[in-house]
């Protein structure tokens, strides 16, 4: 897990930058994108090993971003973040190829555990 390259995608800037700082304190390399378009550019420029992606974003929504990531980089595991009380969007995301989903507010230890599982599941 040390030095794992993570891309965090969420339009809530303060959430995503703070989460990136916490992951960096744990020795991980976390970058943040504030929208789907930027995330896709960042993936092309420097492919991360895992993507943490918010479902509900202005412009290109999380599920559309997921589809585009999977079309070009099917090997990158994607964990979705959802703020909704229902699991509907998370399940839809998993049908589209997401590794799993987590609800906001997030438990960082749960996120790390989920990322470990996702990396281990890689062929």
């Amino acid at each position: 897990m040390e030095n794992l390259k993570i891309l965090l995608v969420d339009d809530e800037e303060e959430f995503v930058t703070t989460l990136a700082e916490r992951l960096e304190l744990r020795g991980l390399q976390a970058r943040a994108a504030l929208n789907g378009e930027d995330a896709l550019h960042m993936i092309e420029a420097d492919t991360p090993q895992i993507v943490i992606l918010d479902v509900m974003m202005p412009g290109l929504g999380g599920l559309e971003v997921l589809k585009r990531i999977k079309a070009r980089h099917s090997q990158i595991p994607v964990i979705l973040l959802t703020g909704r009380g229902s699991t509907k969007e998370g399940i839809k995301g998993m049908q589209l190829g997401a590794f799993d989903y987590l609800m906001k507010p997030l438990d960082i230890e749960e996120l790390i555990k989920k990322m470990q599982e996702a990396i281990k599941s890689q062929p």
Binding site: E14, T18, E21, R22, L25, M57, R84, P105, I108
Partner: protein, 226 residues
Amino acid sequence: MNKCTEKEVAFFGKITAGITHEMKNVLAIIRESSGLMEDIISISPEAIIKHQEKIKNSMVRIKDQIERGVGLTDRLNKFAHSTDETLSKIDLQDAIEQLVTLAQRFARLKHVVLKTMTPDHEGPPVTLVTRHVQLQMALFASLECCFTVLSAGGEINIGILKLEGKNAVHVVCKGDLPGLSEFTRNISESKNWQALQEIAACLEGSAHLDEAAHGIVLSFPDEITR
């Protein structure tokens, strides 16, 4: 009970879901900020000095998010109280301003800016005796009509307009808009327009397109009769 009463529940759900979703983001930021401080403190006493700036920033973020959360809770509470009475005397400008704050998240998701216009005339506040929730439904439906035709970067202005001596609500869609005939067709053939017509009728009012301004005019009686 009129047919719009049945739709009030769905409207309540939609607005409440939007606000509570935003509340979750507030809580997520507070959790990460307090978590970051906890992480730093648990490293070593030296780390506290080294990461002083991060600790300070986290404290500011928490303070800001608490303010944001208080604002959201106030809006939600005010919205919930709009059902207190079936008919009530409503300050129209207040109702517009409240609706605009409730709809901000929906506008943001569409990359559209939502603004309230100050009344174009001086005088006492414009008041209506009507069904508060349904009035908000009508205002929201008019915004949704604009969302139908606006692309990212657009703007919606909403306010009170004096029209032939009567007060009306004027909703203007601004931005990269389709041509006039397409604008009219896109709105008038949309489900949102149909919904707006129904709600306006329930309030004994009307909604029509103001093609020249790329807008919508909503008219309501001063006092509802039913």
